[in-house]
């Protein structure tokens, strides 16, 4: 399953993103690829959602794979150590290949 996230992931939109991910997990998805190529902004509320979803997937022996980070979003992931903690890929194809 690949989710394309675009625009802004902030206090307002993060709960909706998390809900969408949880719906995928409820349908049986264990490997979730999140394409952030069109995401321009992420705040700590967005980061919180990524960590929570990754933890849930890990408990199910699955994984959250993140790809195409850029600009401010990449900077925020880097500062908070999430670039090293998550499985981060350059492209959707690479993420799907694991």
């Amino acid at each position: 399953m690949v989710l394309l996230v675009s625009g802004r992931l902030d206090a307002e939109s993060a709960p909706q993103f998390e809900q969408t991910c949880r719906a995928c997990i409820a349908e049986g998805v264990t490997v979730l690829v999140v394409d952030l190529g069109e995401l321009t902004y992420v705040s700590s509320m967005g980061l919180r959602s990524f960590i929570a979803i990754a933890k849930t997937l890990q408990e199910k022996h699955g994984a959250l794979r993140i790809c195409r980070l850029q600009g401010l979003v990449k900077q925020v992931f880097e500062i908070t150590g999430l670039l090293d903690m998550f499985r981060v890929y350059e492209s959707v194809e690479a993420a799907l290949g694991g």
Binding site: A11, S44, R48, K55, V76, T80, G81
Partner: protein, 144 residues
């Protein structure tokens, strides 16, 4: 011709998540006035969201209604000074213990990254308690 620093502009909002959009719009006007580049405006949004939401969630416990006062000035072209103040519980976020960002997923807490981001993106940030106000001030510049 030497430019004249602009006057401080301020806005008082309810400490309510629904007012975040107004807070961002207000300070963005300052960023435009200061001629900050797009990348810096993204960082400014992040700083305002983290600080504003922190006050909304923790500043006025027990359902107490409160305010957040935002102010900005452009001391020189390419420079923006911002102050965010509230009358909530006395709290200096800058003294909060930084999270361990080297932990693996299993050991990572879900939250606790907001203030850490603020401190990293605005190293000049300062706190002062002024009578019953918490006041956080920071500056961004086009070249920083």
């Amino acid at each position: 011709m030497e430019s004249v620093p602009t006057a401080t502009r301020s806005l008082r909002l309810a400490a309510n998540a629904g007012c975040l959009h107004d807070a961002l719009e207000f300070v963005r006007a300052g960023a435009l006035e200061a001629n900050l580049p797009e990348a810096r405006i993204g960082e400014l949004d992040l700083l305002i969201e983290e600080i504003f939401m922190n006050v909304c969630w923790h500043g006025y416990p027990g359902g107490r209604q409160g305010v957040v006062e935002l102010a900005y000035s452009v001391p020189a072209p390419g420079e923006l000074s911002v102050e965010i103040a509230d009358q909530g519980v006395e709290f200096n976020p800058l003294t909060a213990e930084p999270p361990d960002v080297t932990l693996n997923l299993e050991d990572r807490p879900i939250g606790g990254l907001g203030i850490f981001l603020v401190k990293r993106l605005a190293p000049s940030i300062a706190y002062r308690r002024d009578h019953d106000w918490n006041r956080l001030t920071f500056a961004l510049s086009a070249g920083s």
